[in-house]
Amino acid sequence: MDVAAFLDRVQRADGPDDFRLKAFRAALGRLRSGRPDRARLVLASLSDPTAKPGKAAGNKNACGAWPGAKTTGH
């Protein structure tokens, strides 16, 4: 219900999807996988997969999805 209400709320709002919403929609697809580790799959899909430390911390706060992921918006 929370997910459904969130998507309704987003649809009522203006503006294009940002990368987090695209990542969220892509992660939703993993819920249908039938596998017993959906939580792990969702978290992994939102994660930074790179291996090397970054140059600088920049913003102290993470935002929920990796900006470098390639996702199709819809």
Partner: protein, 260 residues
């Protein structure tokens, strides 16, 4: 815990909590000098134990430079040099929560310096893993660093804030894994109990987040209710709430509960 109010101590004592363990943490802002850290370490090792004792609670602390303040390597080095002066305080259990926040080079350098400090001084280590999209990468970086140092015994290290995609990394490498409980964001009690059921209770514990954001100091006792609701035995609940933390923390000779 660092706070002007005492409601949390009262609630913890009433809930049957036997000890409070408080890692050195970000102040909500970047401290401007090593003197700021000195004062904070005094608060953790002098004032808070006195305050907790008024509620019958032994108070233990971990000391470190936290990852959110690790970008300034000059300040980081000053703080790391300060820490040994406090390690002999009677309530200090080890070095923590060291870790990564955004997985930057400077954060990793500060982590490795404190890892070395812990190894040299034979301290327990409490590791903070980053949040959200940074957690998987940061966990891998830190486990690699810890495993590369032969002085470090994985059984004396707890990798905290594990979630479903990092718990196996910590456990498979021989470390303890901590699940930090939040009421809304990050790991909830239900998900923590899912992980206990999936991986078993060995080298696993739960702790209550007491962050600047929304958090509940009684999250661990509330997770016990979730375990009981699912049919876990009193012995299983006791192991998660008491036995496992006692097993890990007793590796420090300073960790003593009130005499029965």
């Amino acid at each position: 815990m660092v706070s002007r109010t005492t409601d949390d101590y009262l609630a913890l004592a009433a809930a049957g909590c036997e000890a409070v363990c408080e890692p050195a943490f970000w102040a909500g802002f970047d401290r401007g000098s090593v003197e700021g850290f000195h004062d904070y370490f005094c608060q953790l090792t002098e004032y808070e134990p006195q305050r907790a004792a008024k509620f019958g609670l032994p108070h233990f602390a971990w000391l470190c430079l936290n990852p959110k303040e690790a970008e300034d390597l000059k300040l980081a080095e000053e703080v790391i040099e300060l820490i040994p002066k406090f390690l002999d305080r009677p309530n200090v259990l080890g070095i923590g929560e060291i870790g990564l926040n955004r997985n930057s080079r400077n954060e990793l350098k500060a982590f490795e310096r404190q890892m070395d400090l812990a190894a040299r001084c034979r301290q327990l280590i409490l590791v903070h893993t980053p949040h959200l999209e940074d957690k998987l990468k940061g966990t891998r970086l830190m486990i690699d660093a810890l495993k590369s140092d032969r002085r470090i015994n994985p059984a004396r290290v707890i990798i905290d804030h594990v979630e479903e995609h990092t718990i196996a990394l910590a456990l498979d490498a021989g470390f303890w894994a901590g699940m930090t409980l939040y009421p809304q964001s990050k790991c909830t009690a239900a998900r923590a109990v899912d992980m206990i059921e999936t991986y078993g209770p060995e080298r696993l514990w739960m702790n209550s987040a007491c962050d600047w954001g929304v958090s509940v100091p009684l999250a661990v006792p509330l997770a016990a209710l979730e375990m009981r609701r699912r049919g876990h035995s009193p012995a299983a609940v006791d192991r998660m709430l008491h036995g496992n933390p006692l097993q890990f923390l007793s590796q420090s000779p300073k960790f003593k509960l009130a005499a029965e």
